[in-house]
C-alpha cells in the first residue's frame, strides 16, 4: 500500500516537474533539415544565441498542414517557430493555427523584399520554379514559348506531375502577360486554354515528382528542357559542373515563411529571434551553404557578387517573375488536380 502511494506521489511529482519544465521551456524552432537548415542554423540560430543568450533548440519536419493542426490541437506541444510553405501559411492562418504577426515588431514592412510579408508569416527563404535546359542541345536561352515549340527544339521535356505551376507556364507560353495569368486561369476558358497548350507537347512530356529528378533527367539526356527548383539547377551547374542553363525570366516564385504557433509560450522570444532573422547581417550569410533567396531588402547588397548571381533575389533574376497565387491554388487545387489526372491519363 505504501509502495503504491509512493509510486503515485512520485509520478505526480514527475508530472509537476515536467509541466513546470514545459511552461518555461526553451525556444524551439523547426525547419526542413539538411543543408537548408544548416544554412539557417549557421547564419541565424547560432549567432542569435551568442548575441542574446537565449537558448535555441532546433527540430525538423517534412511539412504538411496536418502536422501543424496536430501540434496545436492539444495545446502547447513543444514547437514555437516553424518554417512553413506558402500554402501551409495560408491555410494555417485562415484556420487560426498560427499567430498574426505585428510587422512593426519585426523591423517594418520596408525591411523586407516585396512578397515576403504575410499577415501571419514572415519570409524565410525564397525559391523559384525555373526553366532549366541542356546547353549542348539548346543553342540559345529558351523561353517558355520555346519549351512548348517542338519544331524549334525537338526532344522531350519534363514538367512536375501536378497542375500547379504547369498551367501557369502554359499560359505564359501562350502569350498571357504575367500580371494576367491568374486572372485568365480563374475562368473556365483560361483553364481550357492552358490544357490546350499543354496538349501541343503532350506526346513529348515526361513528368517528375521528386525535386532531384529534373537534373537526373537532363543529365541522362532523357529530356532537353525541364522545370525545376532553382537551387537544384545551380548546384548541378556549380558543384557537378553540368552544361546546364537556368532561365530566371518568367519563372514562378514562392517563399517559405517563419510562423509562430498560436500555442507558443515563448512569443516574446520568438519575436526577438524573427526580428534578428530579418536583419541584413545574419541574412547575408544564408546563401553561403545553399542558394537560398533571402528576404531582407538590405542584405541583397551585402552578398558576394558571385553568390548573388545565383539567388532568386538578385535584381537581374527577379525583374520578371510571377508570385504563385496560393489563395487561387487552395481554392482550385482539388478540381484542377482531378482535371489534370484525367488529362494526363488520356
Amino acid at each position: 500500500m505504501l509502495n503504491k502511494t509512493g509510486l503515485l506521489a512520485a509520478s505526480l511529482l514527475a508530472c509537476t516537474v515536467f509541466a513546470a519544465g514545459a511552461s518555461a521551456r526553451d525556444l524551439v524552432i523547426v525547419s526542413n533539415g539538411g543543408t537548408f537548415q544548416e544554412a539557417q542554423s549557421n547564419a541565424i540560430f547560432k549567432p542569435f544565441e551568442k548575441k542574446t543568450g537565449i537558448k535555441v533548440v532546433e527540430d525538423t519536419w517534412d511539412n504538411g498542414i496536418g502536422v501543424i493542426r496536430t501540434k496545436v490541437e492539444g495545446g502547447d506541444s513543444g514547437w514555437d517557430i516553424v518554417n512553413a510553405e506558402s500554402e501551409e501559411l495560408e491555410i494555417a492562418c485562415q484556420e487560426g493555427l498560427i499567430l498574426p504577426l505585428d510587422i512593426d515588431k519585426l523591423g517594418g514592412k520596408d525591411n523586407y523584399v516585396p512578397g515576403a510579408v504575410h499577415k501571419c508569416g514572415i519570409g524565410a527563404a525564397i525559391y523559384n520554379h525555373v526553366l532549366a535546359y541542356d546547353k549542348t542541345r539548346v543553342s540559345a536561352v529558351p523561353t517558355w514559348a520555346d519549351f512548348f515549340d517542338l519544331k524549334k527544339y525537338p526532344g522531350k521535356r519534363a514538367l512536375r506531375a501536378s497542375p500547379k505551376t504547369n498551367l501557369e507556364f502554359a499560359l505564359i507560353a501562350d502569350g498571357v502577360p504575367l500580371s494576367d495569368v491568374y486572372k485568365v486561369l480563374s475562368t473556365p476558358e483560361g483553364v481550357d486554354r492552358a490544357f490546350a497548350k499543354l496538349d501541343t507537347i503532350k506526346s513529348s512530356l515526361v513528368f517528375w515528382t521528386a525535386g532531384g529528378q529534373p537534373m537526373q533527367l537532363l543529365s541522362s539526356g532523357e529530356v532537353v528542357m525541364t522545370s525545376s527548383f532553382n537551387g537544384r539547377v545551380t548546384n548541378a551547374i556549380n558543384k557537378d559542373h553540368k552544361p546546364f542553363g537556368i532561365v530566371w525570366d518568367k519563372s514562378l516564385q514562392t517563399a517559405d515563411s517563419w510562423v509562430i504557433l498560436k500555442t507558443s509560450p515563448n512569443v516574446d522570444k520568438a519575436y526577438e529571434l524573427l526580428k534578428f532573422a530579418g536583419e541584413a547581417e545574419p541574412q547575408s550569410h544564408l546563401p553561403d551553404v545553399q542558394p537560398i533567396g533571402i528576404t531582407s531588402a538590405k542584405a541583397v547588397g551585402m552578398i558576394k557578387p558571385d553568390l548573388l548571381a545565383d539567388l532568386p533575389t538578385a535584381p537581374e533574376n527577379s525583374r520578371d517573375v510571377l508570385q504563385i497565387d496560393d489563395a487561387f491554388w487552395i481554392d482550385n487545387i482539388d478540381a484542377l488536380t482531378a482535371r489534370w489526372a484525367e488529362w494526363s491519363a488520356q
Binding site: A161, D334, S344
Partner: protein
C-alpha cells in the same frame, strides 16, 4: 470437467489477448479511423449548425424554405474565420467559387445595419440557384455519401438522382480498373516466369537449389527503390538496353521502354517475382515425384499426367503465389511513380496525393475503402471458386 475446459478456454484467450490488443491498436483502430473519414462530413455542421438542421429536413428540390435562408444569415454572422475556412475548402471540392460566395455574403451581412437581415437572394444571385443549395445539402453531414460517390465519379442530385459527377467523368473508375489490370498482368507474367524456374529448382539437389535461391533472395533483400532506380538506368532512352541495341544496329531509334506501361510491368514483375517463387517452390517440393511416374507407367501421356496429376497438386502454390503478387501489387506506389507515365499511376498514387498533397482526406479514404472492398470481394470469389474445384488455398 466443464469448469476445467472453460478455464483452458480462458487461458487460451488470455494467451492471444496481447496479440489481439496489439492488432487492435496498431491496425484495426487506425484503419477504422481512416475509413471513417470516407463518410464523415463534419465541416458544414461545425460552421453553420442551424443551416445544417434546416438542410437536413429540406427535400433538395427547388429552393429551400425561408427558414433555411434565415438560419444561413444568422450562422454566417456568427461563424468564426477558421470554421468558415474549413467549410470553404469542403465546398470547393464541388465548386471553387464557394469561398468567394461565402466570404462576400458574410461581409455584406456584417455591413447591414443591426437588426436588419437582408434577403440573401438579393445579396448574390447564386443563392437563388438550386445547385448552390444542393451542394450545401450534400455537405450537411455529419455523415454522408459525398466522398464515396466522388471516388466513383458519381454525385447525388436530389432532383434527378445519382448521376455522373461531371459530364463524362470516369477518372477514378478508370484508375481502379487500371490498378487491377496492372496487378493481374503482373501476377500472370510472374507466374509464367516463375513456374518453369520453380519446376527446375524443385528437381535440383539441396546444394544447387540453395545456391540458385540465393540469386533470387539477393535482389529480394535489396530495397525496392534501388531495384526500381536500376530499371531507370537500364530502360531509359540512352540507357543500357537501348544503347546496346542501337550499337548492334538492330534499331535506329531508341525504343520507348520507360514512362509507359511496358516499364511499369517490367519493373513490377521483377520486384514481385520472389513472392511468386517461394510459395510455388514450396508446393512443388512437397509433391511426391513417384506419382507422376506412376501415371506415366499406367499409360498416361506426359501432357495428360501433367494436367491431371501434377497441376492439381501445385495448384495451392499457384493460387497462393498469384494472390500474394496480385494483392501486394495493388498497393504499389513507388515503382509506377518512378518508371510509369501519368497514364500508369495506380490508385495508391492518388491516395497519397489526396492525403498529403491536397489534404482531401475524405476522397483519399474513400478510394482506400473501394480498393479494400474490391480486393476482399475478389478474394472471396477466388476462394469460392477454389472450394468448388476442391482445392483450398491453404
Amino acid at each position: 470437467m466443464f469448469k476445467g475446459q472453460r478455464g483452458g478456454l480462458l487461458r487460451s484467450y488470455a494467451l492471444i489477448a496481447p496479440l489481439f490488443l496489439f492488432l487492435l491498436a496498431t491496425f484495426l483502430l487506425p484503419v477504422g479511423m481512416i475509413l471513417w473519414r470516407s463518410v464523415f462530413d463534419p465541416e458544414l455542421r461545425a460552421a453553420l449548425p442551424a443551416t445544417a438542421v434546416e438542410l437536413s429536413s429540406w427535400s433538395g428540390q427547388g429552393l429551400p424554405p425561408a427558414a433555411a435562408y434565415t438560419a444561413l444569415a444568422g450562422d454566417l454572422r456568427n461563424v468564426d474565420g477558421a470554421s468558415l475556412a474549413s467549410l470553404s475548402r469542403r465546398l470547393s471540392y464541388e465548386n471553387p467559387g464557394f469561398r468567394a460566395l461565402l466570404q462576400s455574403t458574410k461581409r455584406k451581412l456584417e455591413a447591414a445595419p443591426a437588426g436588419v437581415t437582408p434577403d440573401l437572394a438579393t445579396l448574390d444571385p447564386q443563392w437563388r440557384a438550386n445547385s448552390t443549395w444542393q451542394a450545401m445539402k450534400r455537405a450537411a453531414g455529419p455523415v454522408g455519401t459525398f466522398h464515396i460517390l466522388s471516388a466513383l465519379d458519381l454525385r447525388r442530385n436530389y432532383e434527378t438522382g445519382i448521376g455522373p459527377a461531371r459530364p463524362g467523368a470516369a477518372l477514378y473508375r478508370s484508375i481502379i480498373l487500371r490498378t487491377f489490370a496492372i496487378a493481374s498482368t503482373t501476377a500472370v507474367l510472374a507466374l509464367v516466369l516463375a513456374f518453369p524456374l520453380c519446376a527446375f529448382l524443385a528437381r535440383q539437389s539441396d546444394r544447387v537449389r540453395n545456391l540458385l535461391l540465393l540469386m533470387v533472395l539477393l535482389p529480394f533483400w535489396t530495397s525496392i527503390l534501388v531495384r526500381t532506380t536500376a530499371w531507370l538506368a537500364l530502360l531509359q532512352d540512352r540507357g543500357v538496353i537501348n544503347t546496346l541495341l542501337m550499337e548492334m544496329g538492330l534499331i535506329d531509334q531508341p525504343m520507348k521502354l520507360l514512362y509507359n506501361r511496358i516499364g511499369v510491368i517490367t519493373a513490377l514483375v521483377h520486384v514481385m517475382l520472389p513472392f511468386m517463387i517461394f510459395p510455388l517452390l514450396a508446393s512443388m517440393r512437397s509433391i511426391d515425384p513417384r506419382l507422376f511416374r506412376a501415371a506415366l507407367s499406367l499409360g498416361a501421356t506426359p501432357l495428360y499426367a501433367f494436367r491431371r496429376v501434377y497441376l492439381p497438386q501445385v495448384m495451392p502454390g499457384v493460387m497462393a503465389g498469384t494472390l500474394m503478387v496480385f494483392v501486394v501489387t495493388l498497393g504499389f506506389y513507388v515503382t509506377p511513380m518512378l518508371v510509369g507515365g501519368p497514364g500508369d499511376q495506380m490508385i495508391s498514387y492518388y491516395i497519397a496525393l489526396y492525403t498529403t498533397g491536397t489534404l482531401n482526406w475524405g476522397l483519399a479514404s474513400s478510394l482506400g475503402l473501394i480498393l479494400l472492398v474490391v480486393t476482399l470481394l475478389l478474394y472471396a470469389v477466388q476462394n469460392a471458386l477454389l472450394r468448388r474445384s476442391g482445392v483450398g488455398v491453404r
